[in-house]
Symmetry: C2
Subunit: 347 residues, 2 copies
């Protein structure tokens, strides 16, 4: 197990990211903890837990990313008599990581947190940065907090059994990071390692996840709690994407929705003269290297619901939702769209 | 309306405390806000709200300090389409303040917060310091966060209609602050203004609340999120007190329980040689100036439940609950007690 990334957040708090090719090393690390802990998994990841008697097993899926699941985690810790110096350990995908982080944030006003992501999406999207949340009334992550993990363990071998759809879901966020990076290292890496990535070559994936997290680190260190308008850039593709997830009742995966949303944001940026045509083509070129969701047409009867869904976005300020557009590589800007402009994009 | 106290917390965040004798000034301040806002009251404080159409009215009492109430606040804000730049305004006692603060902490991972306490307890205990919480499975404030208010408006006139029991509840925390202060100004003030306090003289109460909040400020500024063992001192009397509240199903008020708990902690400190006899007597002398709850004997059948309740305390570390004892004025120390020692104190 090797420490590769350290992100320095508010108040000198450090999130450390360790990489390992072996799930056993992750288990050993958990068993070696000198504090009380509770492991949170779902039905799919229960087998990764090294201590079944300390494990809460949640029902799988975004449908269960709610208060009831959170209550189960909190109750389990309370029944164990765990103190606020105890550690909540997430062992699963993004839903498990987000909910465990929120349980840890709320338990006695803040307990310890370790994240062991088992999906590509969770590795690149739900670890560094401290975002904790549950869904609320069909709106994603409306109820949450910032509560970073002190330790993040990325065990690449968990990806070998990941279904293709889940894998591509994570790739959506990786591609997003390639566009938000201040250099083209990740972009080039993705282009030249396309086959290794799709074959799930562990060494290739490890480098890819590391490069992706380094991009994320650069944004969150400058703006740990998303109050300075810097970190919001990580929501590129997400306002369109979240609205699509919402109107399709989350039948479309997050990563697919985000790729779809990035295309919408790129096209919309192009029309407005924000995104230069060569950069637009350069981005679309990378997206087209990977088998992402084909075009999705929003049905006319859903236009209004779609526009309404964008208005619930958390990046709203003064009643107006801001979308993220790209002026170039690593050059995001936030700007609003009218209802008609939004509708025109989803026809 | 006059700003009297500024507390400097983590990341340069400032909580400002304003005092006013007139409820109308508080209402005017709310109406002058240039951001979207939601007012939270309970059935008793609804009339203080200057904008009924923006007001959530919760059921009154500690019984409703739960997720269901929190959900109502969050839903109301979501239905209004309020953004994360909006402000949650608590207008009520400690329960309303604590829940509004938690709703604000969780809404889109953190919205604005203004607290307008209408009870003495809320003024001195639930404003400065950012503690947000709900009760969870009969354990007080087990689920919560630190989320300080930018603006706190103390309108003393709201105290004139406060029932005696509620008033004395707040006095418990004021007396606690007198013992935790680094000087004897508040202690002397309470002694020499006993009659003015009990007659609810507004000028006297204003000074008393200000002195009390200055003590609290000195602790929270040094340890905003209770991670350094300094702020925990504010829990003097609370481990015994919370356990009493828990086994009596919250039929005893918080302040009364805390005074009872302080007596237990003082006596226990005396027995252990931590609290010097003259200081013990000096403290008991002040408590006896005010009509607090008489001695409460825990029934023998409840000993075990009481001891168990102390083990759910949030100050637990390494599986051991630490109680706050006093070596002298403003000299708290944290130390554990055995189950037998606890039982011996409550006979």
């Amino acid at each position: 197990m090797e420490k590769r990334i350290e992100a320095l957040l508010d108040n000198g708090f450090v999130s450390s990211v360790y990489f390992t090719g072996k799930t056993d090393e992750m288990k050993e690390r958990i068993l070696s903890l000198d504090k009380d802990y509770v492991v949170v998994t779902d039905e799919n990841t229960f087998t990764y837990s090294p201590s079944p008697e300390r494990t809460v097993v949640l029902e799988s899926g975004e449908d269960h990313k709610n208060w009831e699941s959170l209550e189960r985690i909190l109750s389990f810790a309370l029944d164990r008599g765990m103190g606020r110096d105890g550690i909540f350990i997430a062992l699963g995908g993004g839903v498990v990581c987000d909910m465990t982080a929120l349980a840890s944030a709320l338990y006695m006003r803040g307990a310890g947190l370790m994240l062991c992501p088992t999906t590509l999406l969770a590795m690149v999207d739900a670890t560094l940065g401290g975002k904790a949340a549950i869904d609320f009334r069909n709106t994603k992550n409306t109820v949450g907090a910032f509560h970073p993990a002190s330790e993040i363990i990325i065990s690449l071998s968990t990806l070998s059994s990941l279904p293709d759809k889940e894998f591509m879901c994570g790739m959506g966020e990786v591609v997003k990071h390639a566009f938000l990076s201040s250099d083209d290292e990740l972009y080039k890496f993705l282009f030249s390692n396309r086959d290794g990535i799709m074959a799930r070559d562990t060494a290739v994936l490890e480098k890819m996840v590391e490069l992706s997290l380094l991009v994320k680190k650069s944004y969150i260190e400058k703006d740990p709690t998303e109050t300075k308008g810097i970190r919001s850039a990580l929501n590129f593709g997400h306002t369109f994407g979240h609205a699509l997830e919402s109107i399709t009742d989350y039948s479309i995966s997050h990563g697919e929705a985000v790729v779809w949303g990035m295309k919408k944001a790129l096209t919309s940026g192009l029309w407005q003269g924000i995104t230069p045509p060569p950069f637009y083509l350069w981005c679309i070129d990378l997206i087209s290297q990977f088998p992402f969701l084909d075009e999705y047409k929003v049905a006319k009867k859903d236009y209004e619901a779609f526009v309404e869904a964008t208005k619930k976005d958390k990046k709203k300020s003064g009643g107006v939702t801001k979308f993220v557009f790209l002026k170039g590589l690593g050059e995001p800007i936030l700007s609003p769209l009218t209802d008609d402009q939004i509708a025109a994009m989803i026809v």
